[in-house]
């Protein structure tokens, strides 16, 4: 059976399967990862750390590539 953990996305608890990346938590939360230069919402695109569209603040580190970071219990994620 898959095991689930909770992370906080903009203070809201989100349930993801253990081992999921932070990018997955953003999709599950239904929030865009970031706002573009002109303010339009963006979500992860390439899934492999190239496109930079998945950047968000993870445990205080701004501009983290969320598709390359695995969720830890109670991780604090903030969209940018």
């Amino acid at each position: 059976m898959p095991e689930f953990i909770l992370v906080l996305v903009n203070e809201v608890p989100v349930r993801v399967e253990r081992g999921s990346t932070v990018a997955v938590a953003l999709f599950v939360a239904g929030v865009p990862a970031r706002r573009s230069v002109n303010g339009s919402p963006r979500s992860p695109v390439c899934g492999m750390g190239v496109c930079m569209e998945c950047r968000a603040e993870v445990d205080g580190v701004l501009h983290s590539r969320t598709c390359q970071i695995v969720c830890e219990p109670n991780m604090q994620v903030r969209t940018q």
Binding site: V28, P32, P41, C51
Partner: protein, 424 residues
């Protein structure tokens, strides 16, 4: 931290793993660097869920096991960002910096998806085809979601089959190549039994998925995220409701590092001789950087590069016949999935081309070169450093990517000026 190796391999996909294993088996001191936390690259992606039924299988299992048995030192999660002097690369892991010295360098940095701009492609829930697959492998729940898979290349069918196995409702599989090109591809495979078997297997597994050829997305529509996909299906306009659009136009090689160390490119690929030697002494390249040929090509080229770098040229020579066969497959892929020139007309004048800096089509077109477009419009000057829009502009305008400058990945300023982590 400063470390020295006989052979330094960058990229731990099939080509890099094969190269590292072969060089280590010849008794050389070898290190392998990859920015992903696990070896395997994109094709043998492991992590939360392994390649099949919870374990690594097939070639992947064989080569991962061989890698484990060697003394190869792994730098996983590290990314190369600079080549400060000949025979030295600088790598970062968070704020940590390492100087890696080498006698021979093997660059096996693989490929990324080519993404092309069309109206609405920046909407949330529009991803690359491999991009959506990677996210589902990373835990994204997809059961019951309606997905349009689109673009071009053999990856599309693999992605559609994978997503359906995970419970997605693949409502359309849109391949821009024509049916006649795909038939020629099938005929071209007749001389290559393992490739033909793969094709037949995927054909069987994909039965029931509605395949449209000469078909591509013309717009992604929705308010805050994707709701519908507009398609050009053989000249006919069609709209389909969807939760995700997974759209990628085959692959482009990751040639930033080969360019940084001064290797000459032929078009978008690095120029190598039959022993995978680039135009720079003691620098080799293997796998997708030399031509997009898939995992078999990567494995044989990686072995040749690893053996040659280790001085075992005779052993490498025994693999040249196999290399010629994989090269034929590479050329067949290029012909089959050549992009329809009509795709150049997809972006409207207000369509964003550079997603990082929000630069529109009208600001980019009309420039004479990639360099001029960057200077005039900031296209390609954002966080991805042109990895997405550069490959798009190469197709849209025929521009070559002439200059690469360090850092080739964003790094903290401290890493850039050589500050060690202990000074933070």
């Amino acid at each position: 931290m400063t470390r020295s190796f006989d052979v330094l391999v960058v990229g731990a996909g099939p080509a890099g793993i094969a190269a590292a294993v072969c060089a280590a088996d010849e008794g050389r001191e070898v290190a392998i660097v990859d920015e992903n936390p696990h070896p395997g690259g994109q094709i043998w992606r492991i992590g939360r869920e392994n390649t099949e039924h919870g374990k690594v299988v097939g070639d992947a299992e064989v080569w991962m096991r061989r890698l484990d048995r060697t003394s190869v030192q792994s730098f996983l999660g590290w990314h190369i960002f600079d080549a400060p002097a000949p025979k030295v690369l600088r790598a970062a892991w968070g704020p940590e910096v390492a100087e890696l010295h080498f006698k021979s360098l093997i660059i096996a940095t693989g490929a990324r998806e080519r993404l092309l701009p069309f109206p609405g492609w920046t909407l949330p829930n529009v991803l690359g085809a491999g991009g959506l697959q990677a996210l589902v492998k990373a835990g994204l729940p997809i059961r019951g979601k309606r997905v349009v898979v689109a673009g071009t290349g053999p990856l599309l069918i693999a992605v559609a089959v994978y997503l359906r196995q995970k419970g997605a409702d693949v409502v359309a599989l849109c391949e821009q190549a024509s049916t006649s090109n795909l038939l020629k591809f099938g005929i071209g495979l007749l001389g290559q039994p393992t490739k033909l078997a793969d094709a037949v297997r995927f054909g069987w597994q994909s039965r029931g998925i509605p395949l449209r050829t000469s078909c591509w997305p013309t717009a992604a529509l929705g308010r805050d995220k994707l709701e519908r996909v507009a398609l050009n299906d053989n000249g006919r306009a069609v709209e389909i409701e969807a939760d995700y659009l997974a759209c990628g136009f085959h692959l482009v090689p990751n040639c930033q590092l080969v360019s940084l160390v001064g290797c000459v490119l032929d078009g978008s690929y690095v120029r190598v001789d039959e022993f995978q030697q680039t135009t720079v002494a003691d620098v080799f390249s293997a796998g997708e950087t030399t031509g997009v040929g898939g995992v078999e090509a990567a494995l044989v080229e990686g072995q040749i590069a690893g053996l040659t770098a280790a001085g075992a040229r005779q052993k490498a020579a025994s693999l040249l016949k196999e290399r010629n066969a994989t090269r034929r497959f590479t050329r067949l892929l290029d012909r089959t999935y050549a992009l329809n020139p009509d795709l150049r007309r997809l972006p409207a004048s207000d369509t964003i081309v550079c997603r990082c800096e929000d630069v529109s089509m009208k600001a980019v077109q009309g420039n004479a070169s990639w360099r001029e477009a960057k200077l005039q419009s900031r296209v390609g000057m954002g966080a991805c450093q042109g990895r997405i829009c550069g490959a798009a502009c190469e197709f849209l305008f025929g521009w070559g990517m002439e200059s690469v400058r360090p850092p080739i990945q964003p790094v903290p300023v401290g890493s850039l000026i050589g500050t060690r982590a202990e000074n933070f």
